[in-house]
């Protein structure tokens, strides 16, 4: 005994899949941009909480100076150029190419200031604001990227 199975509308499904395939790279890149934007905002919010001032005692390590905090806040965490590798697209968010700033007559690289605050030094307290923001913002960024992709594909397949 045999059952006959039949599917109608293969042409429409094929056309829809073709549209998805064409749109996928642009949707993925835009979703990544949305997620990176959230990460950048999270890092900025965490940077606003950086403590400034001297250490608790004369001999102890200091916190960031107000000028260093201002430098970090003024440039914000940037979104790097997108890398496309086959079907993958990735980027990074941070201060890698954020330039230099003059503090007290000395030109200092902003990435070095950020690293000093984030990882601490022998003379400065550690305040891991980038690591903390990455942890708290990661889930939010993923959620935003997922909802963007679902919305975009929903519109295409309507």
């Amino acid at each position: 005994m045999a059952y006959e199975l039949k599917v109608d509308g293969m042409a429409e499904i094929s056309e829809m899949l073709s549209k998805l395939e064409d749109a996928a790279p642009a949707v993925a890149a835009q979703a990544l941009y949305e997620g990176a934007g959230i990460m950048s905002e999270e890092i900025r919010n965490a940077a606003a909480e950086i403590r400034t001032g001297p250490g608790p005692t004369r001999e102890s390590a200091r916190y960031a100076t107000p000028a260093e905090k201002e430098a970090v806040l003024s440039v914000g965490a940037g979104i790097a150029r997108f890398n496309k590798n086959g079907t993958e697209v990735d980027t990074s968010v941070g201060y890698r190419n954020s330039g230099y700033i003059d503090i007290d007559g000395r030109t200092k690289p902003i990435p070095l200031i950020v690293n000093s605050i984030n990882s601490g030094t022998s003379f400065m307290h550690k305040q891991p604001f980038v690591r903390k923001a990455a942890k708290s913002g990661g889930a939010k960024a993923m959620s935003r990227m997922q909802s963007y992709i679902e919305d975009a594909f929903g519109k295409i397949t309507k």
Binding site: A61, G120, T121
Partner: protein
């Protein structure tokens, strides 16, 4: 506090306070994190930085993940053997949960600075 975290920090503090059998010499530790600045050839800092994640259930936290860090400051380019001891301790107590986050040279003080981060539950 979770037992994995306590075991790891105890092991790292043992390294920095000369209680670990593997440590031939002791790695001085900065007291109260950075509140005192030890004038040693090499010294270490172990700190719990922040709560990384939490699993919730029944209106309460069932489990919590913490992110912490170990810092080594040394005038020796190779860390005077402490790099190996610290990474061995990290591997023994939380294999795969740690990474070397930063390795820089402080020109002003002449100190090399290693920073390892770890996440434990």
């Amino acid at each position: 506090m979770c037992s994995q975290y306590e075991a790891l920090v105890a092991a790292l503090k043992a390294l920095t306070q000369g209680e670990a059998p593997a440590a031939v010499i002791t790695l001085p530790m900065a007291e109260n994190e950075w509140d005192t600045r030890p004038q040693y050839e090499s010294y270490g800092v172990v700190a719990l930085d922040f709560e990384a994640d939490a699993l919730r259930g029944d209106n309460q936290k069932v489990d919590t993940a913490y992110e912490g860090s170990v810092d080594l400051f040394s005038h020796a380019k190779d860390g005077a053997g402490w790099v190996t001891l610290i990474t061995e301790t990290l591997e023994a107590y939380c294999d795969g949960c740690w990474s070397l986050n930063s390795h820089v040279f402080e020109r002003g003080t002449g100190l090399f600075h290693w920073e390892w981060t770890f996440e434990v539950v």
